[in-house]
Amino acid sequence: MQSSSPAGVLRAATITPQGSIGSGPFSLGRLAIHACLLGLSVLFLLPLILLVSASLSSEGDISRYGFSLVPRTPTLAAYQYVLQDPGLMLTAYAVTITVTLIGTFAGVLIMAMLAYPLSRPDFSWRGPLAFIVFFTLLFSGGLVPLYILVTHYLQIQDTLWSLILPYLVMPWYVFLLRAYFSALPRELIDAAKVDGAGEWRIFFQVVVPLSRPGLATVALFCALTYWNDWYLALLFINNPALVPLQYLLYQISTNIETLQSSSQAFGVQIPALSAQMAIAVLAIGPITLAFLAVQRHFISGITLGGVKGD
């Protein structure tokens, strides 16, 4: 779109303040951009469509025609197979939900309690303590010491603690919360002090209620971390009763036999490929629905994190 032509000069008079192409919401240039973005969106959703389609395909179709974007003969056989003995799946769900709930709640509480004093200019140890938190972002001991610490010294492998504690305090979110708390009006805290409220009371009755959006954003990202985690289970979990959802999916992808629990007759043909995909769909279902419900907070949360605060 050249604007040096006379038409361009004319258009300059009616141009939108943001200087966007064209004038109407659907001018030619805009349509091209919409086409690009729409194409990209479809491309980004393609793997998901493929997964859902594969889970609805019959095993015979998959081995004959491969995974396809539209199931040739749609069938729920894979889901029936997976759900006829949902024990493994339910256990994994229970572990994941427990870990996510406890981890998110405890994590947000502990991180907020860590961040709030660091946001108070009148707190005497603000500088050194902020550095102690911050330094963990710059340097870490890595996997080997953590592994030895957890298995040899703390001996919490094969417990839910090993799935929760290592992710409890994430320094990035502490700084995000600190920036959030710093932006709260100081007068409110001072007024509460004048009224004789102690620090704990101020924190829980003034600061926390005022910071709900910030806390919700951090909770969202914490929940995502716990929900999606398989790494800690890979390192620390052997007990099948404590296998979280993502780790179960990992086990199934390396060995489909994992699916076949002892209660099922051996020799029964497993619809291996479609059943794997069906389990994956069942695992991402909740997170997809949750995302659709709270996507606005996610996106505003990213912008919040992108803005450097102090």
């Binding site: 200087g19 690009c36 980004f44 793997p47 710059l138 890595g142 080997v144 398989w230 992808s253 995909m277």
Partner: protein, 319 residues
């Protein structure tokens, strides 16, 4: 414990300060749980890097094991693995940084054009492009498998339908720098485009009005206004990434490659090497040497990148 010391150190001041020291004590107590978690799960492992200088025996513990100086490092750098994992980690991360930056900026520029005129569509695109960010690498492994499986994958079926020869993707390492870059872009471009879009929206619209009046084309406005004004944000993000360039995304390299040994020449990175050496081979010395090497070089890179930011964009420096 610190409380008495705390009261004394502040107590010599006026009465006003007793109030403040009480406040300090309460705030410190509030931080205690978080500080304990950090001490156990971040600081204790930091001291654990001494394991790299020891001949670690589980029954002797970390402190009781024998010091061996740099022996573990000699072994590590005596292998071909060391060069391979360092080259792969740096090379792949460099690819990812460049590709995600270009893709995210491109998407953000497109989104900005439709942002003001058509909010609903803009929101839809934004959400859809962000969506892959939610998936764990375990799930992404399923996606990629459905695409690349040799006998059933969509890609090979498309290739044969077009008359080509199917490719054994999981045995052909030379394709994987491209495959993993595409996956990284797919997973992260949406996230970063939201960050860059926020930066673009913050630009004063008067610049564009003036440029339009002067007859500047859209392209010129992007190159002369949008990108230059976004430069600080871009530089910060690049430098933050460079600070992390020695750390690979373990899930990407472990899950998505299905940990296939045939792919190691291209996909074995420091993090997968440390994990495998520790758990599969059980060589604590070698694993901790590689991990410590990563931690130290990574730390130096963070310091370097921050020093660089301070020189160029002082107010954007992280510390």
């Amino acid at each position: 414990m610190p409380w008495s010391w705390l009261a004394r150190s502040r107590g010599w001041r006026a009465n006003f300060d007793t109030e403040r020291s009480k406040s300090n004590a309460a705030l410190l107590l509030m931080m205690a749980p978080g500080l304990v978690v950090l001490f156990v799960f971040a600081y204790l492992p930091m001291f654990g890097i001494i394991i790299a200088f020891k001949d670690f025996r589980a029954y002797q513990g970390v402190l009781g094991s024998r010091w061996v100086g740099l022996q573990n490092f000699y072994y590590l750098f005596g292998t071909d693995d060391a060069r391979r994992i360092v080259v792969n980690t740096l090379g792949m991360n460099a690819l990812f940084i460049a590709a995600v930056l270009v893709a995210a900026l491109g998407i953000a520029l497109l989104l900005r054009e439709v942002q003001s005129s058509n909010r609903w569509f803009a929101k839809f695109y934004q959400s859809t492009l962000f969506f892959p960010y939610l998936f764990s690498y375990v799930i992404i492994n399923y996606f990629v498998f459905a695409l690349l499986d040799t006998s059933n994958g969509l890609v090979n079926h498309t290739i044969t339908a077009l008359g080509g020869q199917p490719v054994s993707w999981y045995q052909s390492p030379h394709y994987w720098p491209v495959i993993l870059t595409l996956i990284t872009v797919w997973k992260n471009a949406g996230f970063w485009s939201i960050v860059y879009l926020a930066g673009m929206i913050a630009i004063n619209p008067e610049y564009y009005e003036a440029a339009t009046l002067d007859g500047a084309s859209k392209w010129r406005q992007i190159w002369r206004i949008t990108l230059p004004l976004l430069k600080p944000l871009i530089i910060i993000n690049i430098l933050l990434s460079i600070g992390r360039i020695f750390y690979a995304d373990f899930g990407l390299f472990y899950q998505v490659t299905r940990n296939a040994p045939e792919l190691y020449p291209a996909t074995d990175v420091i993090d997968t090497y440390v994990y495998r050496t520790l758990t599969a081979i059980g060589d604590v010395g070698m694993a901790s040497a590689a991990g410590t090497f990563q931690a130290v070089v990574g730390f130096m890179l963070v310091l370097f990148s921050n020093w660089f930011v301070r020189r160029t964009e002082r107010q954007s420096a992280i510390f």
